[in-house]
Amino acid sequence: MTITAPQKTAPASPSLQPTGWLRYLSFSVDHKVIGLQYLVCGFAFYLIGGAMAGAIRTELLSPVSDFMARDVYNQILTLHGTVMIFLWIVPVVNGAFGNYLIPFYVGARDMAYPRLNAVAFWLIPPAGLMLISSYFITGAAQSGWTAYPPLSITTPATGQIIWILSVLLLGGSSIFGGINFIATILKLRRPGLKLMQLPMYCWAMLGTSILVVLSTPVLAGTLIMLSFDIVAHTGFFNPGMGGNVVVYQHLFWFYSHPAVYIMVLPAFGLVSEILPVHCRKPLFGYTTMVYSIMAIVVLGLVVWAHHMFTSGTPPWMRLFFTIATAFIAVPTGIKFFNWLATLWGGRISLNSAVLFSCGFIVNFVLGGITGVALAQVPFDVHVHDTYFVVAHFHYIVYGGSVFVIFASIYHWYPKIIGRMLDEHLGRLHFLLTFVGFNLCFAPQHWLGLNGMPRRVAEYDPQFELVNQISSAGALLMAISTLPFLWNVIASAFFGAIAGDNPWRALTPEWLTSSPPPVENWKGDPPLVTHPYGYGTPADEIDLNSASGSDLWRSGQ
């Protein structure tokens, strides 16, 4: 042993890793460090994207283009969408919480491919900086986050090419992360832990990662073709050269519709973790939750053309995609009612995490209803590319995913930092966010129904008052970030000591110290077969036959 030891330590690269706070700026391979890197990096981009949203709402205070020039508005709008989707929500709901929690949940000491994991994170900051710097160099892309040709071919090329490059890098990061999550969940489970005993977030991340691995490469290929059109003057998507713009739309939405589920399925999983803990009840309908996620994964891959009902889609396609989209409401509805049933009769402690989770449920059902409405061709043809669509998807991605990100930060902060967040500031944050969000986006339904087009710096003067109300809501949302920022920074130094398990939770990440040690546990990882066994002795729960409903009926 003493002879072989020097040989084993020969690859000295791990010893280069710093151990203090500097490791958060290093190529660390610790999944908890990488998770936090994703979270903080994502939040920085959220502030940048939020500032852009502020600029957009300021411009829209008046019907004329006065705050910024029209092409600058287009650039800001494109950057806002791209930053919020690819640099904030996707990396945070997948990368941040996935990296932090999944190894705990499967009873592993790290992800399956730690170095690949670090590579996946470190693709993000350069891609994001490149994207934003394009605004200062030659002007950013102007064709929206969808980059539809011929608009993306005719607008200035440099910004568009930088946009394509950074989205390709972010897509690569996403694929590497997805492969890692699939391998970790399927291959790295500790012995004795069955798939149907995993916490729900694992299932959500498994479904999400399948979507990432299947659909993101198609976007990559499409963007490569688009860059050929721009740089080499091929004609894939250029009607003037015999190309076909609708093919771009099909390929783009083959990724970008699943991208909605890539943003919202992990949020479903996180809410399913938070609610049972604070309601002291088992998660209602575990098995149906699992099948719902998998149904959403399958259906999510075959509904993309509902974004294209006005793109000359033939009737059979409209019929198929309308029906397929309406079907998604079924598994989503199952999950919605399961959360309500989890809350029902529970001993709810109405703290910030639960408030944000409940805010998510309310917002998400509103966004879901408008989503089903938008899937109907006769309605969609009228509101396509209006503010109704803007309102709908902000209810999904902000009211849904971002609310859950905040809920998750309130829930897991004590584990990550080891100190509690301030509850009063948290509730103030929730109140400001919830009121501001609904004030900002609910009026946009009305704007869209009355015909205000999206993505334009100027609008008909009759919409001025409602736009100003919406902008006031946006201001409230901006202000709501302040108590949150103060809370997370101050609590890291002055917050009450959390202890290992302040919520008395049963999932494995709470069964270690706060913050957890390197390698997650001193000693063997615990075997948690009933992660939601609240209010019942663990051995009375038979997940295979009962799941939540029987427990609920028996009054537990």
Binding site: T9, L186, L214, A232, H250, L251, E519
Partner: protein
């Protein structure tokens, strides 16, 4: 770690991926490669879908030339299929600790890969259309070019493996044959893509 030298002490609190823990975990690298190849296949699927849709919806513009000859691509198909077999022989010989034979088969495989690339180049230079001539020409070059990039990478991998199994105690050996198997799986994948590409681009 029986003797706690300073080096070891440092490693202990750094992370769990130092060499000392490597042996504890089962090897999931092949699973990761397979998942990556699924993603890679989806990129090709996107290109194929685009090509087939163009074919179904967009007629060739008047005066545009898009003619493909069969002999050279058929030869290419044979080259790649044979190279899959030779790569397999290399793997068999490595596991039998017959490194010399293994390297011979690897060199043959790399040679076939290079022959494929050369033949592809010949085809490119003799075709009557260029990249930007028309929609089909562009798609043809994009698809075959993207595939050719994969063949190039695969050939480089073969040459690296060939270099690393010089001696039975080298980095690639009978006891550590993952690099060879990974390159082999990738190579079979690239061959399979070519067969689909051949059918879609040349035969239908």
């Amino acid at each position: 770690m029986t003797s706690l030298t300073p080096q070891n002490a440092q490693l202990d609190h750094i992370d769990d991926h130092g060499a000392e823990h490597g042996a504890e975990h089962p090897d999931h690298r092949m699973f990761g490669l397979a998942a990556f190849l699924v993603a890679d296949a989806m990129t090709f699927a996107g290109f194929f879908a685009a090509y087939l849709t163009f074919k179904a919806v967009n007629p060739l513009m008047p005066g545009a030339i898009y003619e493909l000859e069969l002999p050279l691509p058929t030869l290419n198909t044979i080259l790649l299929l044979v190279s899959s077999a030779t790569f397999h022989r290399a793997g068999v010989n490595l596991r039998r600790q017959n490194n010399e034979r293994c390297r011979l088969w690897l060199m043959l495989t790399a040679g076939l890969g290079l022959a494929f690339l050369a033949s592809q180049m010949v085809e490119y230079f003799t075709l009557p259309f260029g990249l930007t001539d028309n929609l089909y020409a562009s798609t043809f070059y994009a698809l075959t070019g993207f595939h050719g990039l994969h063949v190039t990478l695969g050939t480089l991998m073969i040459l690296i493996v060939w270099w690393q199994c010089r001696t039975p105690s080298g980095r690639v050996s009978a006891s550590n044959h993952f690099p060879l198997e990974a390159a082999e799986l990738y190579w079979h994948f690239v061959d399979g893509i070519w067969v689909i590409l051949f059918v879609i681009l040349y035969l239908i």
